[in-house]
Symmetry: C2
Subunit: 295 residues, 2 copies
Amino acid sequence: MMPLLNLKTDLQQVEELMLSQCDPLTDQTNQCRAAVRSHLGAGGSRLRALLCLDAGRRLGLAKPERVSLAACCELIHNASLVQDDCFDREELRRGQPSIWRAYGLTVAICSGDLMLSAAYGCLTKLTRSEILPRLLEAIHGQTSIVIASQDCEQKAASEGLSCLSAYEQIAIAKSGALLVLPLQLPLIASGHPAAGSDARRLAESFAVAYQMWDDLQDFEADLKAGSLNAISVLMRSGIDLEAARSLIEVRAQYWLGYALQASLTLPSRCGELFVQQAQSLLAKLPSTTALTGIC
Amino acid sequence: MMPLLNLKTDLQQVEELMLSQCDPLTDQTNQCRAAVRSHLGAGGSRLRALLCLDAGRRLGLAKPERVSLAACCELIHNASLVQDDCFDREELRRGQPSIWRAYGLTVAICSGDLMLSAAYGCLTKLTRSEILPRLLEAIHGQTSIVIASQDCEQKAASEGLSCLSAYEQIAIAKSGALLVLPLQLPLIASGHPAAGSDARRLAESFAVAYQMWDDLQDFEADLKAGSLNAISVLMRSGIDLEAARSLIEVRAQYWLGYALQASLTLPSRCGELFVQQAQSLLAKLPSTTALTGIC
């Protein structure tokens, strides 16, 4: 991804805020503290932080506000990554041993807890406290969706899901929930809570398309690991591999179109970085004529 | 414990708020939702909720405020219980299979996450948003201490701690951190943030004494499980079992005295339920003359 240049100093402050909120008053050798620092220090796209910073800037939020909200979004996402790696026994994350592999399961789970609590801690930096209740409601609402989705995904993978619409609902909960926040929080903070439904449509549609694209890349690996994959879902209805691949490509394009449409009504073009992401994903998919049957 | 009668309806509302905040917008068969309901439905002393409700009432907080703060304290505590059971592989909790035993590790960890996020969600019910930043700061501060303490406790248990003062620091972090909140939050909400240090001294001292009393009851079981226990800590310095027991009894009395002393300076006798708890614990300990050498 190509971050907008003027977000660079904002992003630096996001990194600093994340680390300072994950620093419990304890000895510096604490494993949980070390694990969080190791995880955050390994990089990552910081997509959610950038989406939030860009939206916040376009909506006129002061720097401390957009930095706090961006750090909040990014910390919840990273908490979910660290704990997902525990559940899936993923050995690697960002090219280095995952936290549970390097520090053990207990420290990894605690690191996730610390980042989750720290996400809420970031809100103490907001000076306009009157916006806090709506922000808290949105954050807990989306966080509880993503937490609950873990069970749905596990069930779907073990039961051999064959319904693409159910797959999409899981993708909306699992990936969409935390992609909604980087738009929803700046909209609330800038006095546009009503735009939240279009923001949700944009973020959730992008999330489904992105998940499908990811599944297209990882089909063989997912098959081996028994993970949920959109192609496998279609193949369970008797569709062969190549046709399933094409159908998922078309379906991803449909969701990206839907995302782009939703972006048009947002105030101050605050979904612009989402739009860039959607266009870049569209360019990676082969151009086809829509197979209207499945869309 | 003997809850004050007029806290009964408050407590009922705490139970309802905890359940409603742990109800993600998902199908009702979600395992994570079910696990939280099963855990919360199995009872428990609700000590932290009662401490918070009693303090809030004495400090003149409106009912919705004290209920929100009490639910917040109780949810963080229950999140820590559910995840501790995972780490310690405890089979039973409140007379029924622990959540990880009944639902598996993934659902149990997610249930803890859900309760932790829901604790922050409870704050949306507060109408005076100007108190939110300080509340958030206090909650995340204490929560991060308890999360980080997991590593200290594990290290101490595996390395065979022989220093009672280090043991006490761990008890303050592990048990004290979440006992501070039921006093600290109502004090912040009622405009007495400066009383926080005495509240901390009261809650932390009570926590150490309670942990020691617990260790006196569970010595054999802890020895078998390799868990941290105050008696074992002293015995590693060459003190025999009976002498170690007596010393821990005296030390617990010392901490309870310290707790009672700290309660005297709190506004509106807001630590009264803590005082009752401390006195009831004192009555369970054998009366001895203080062994000043160790105190």
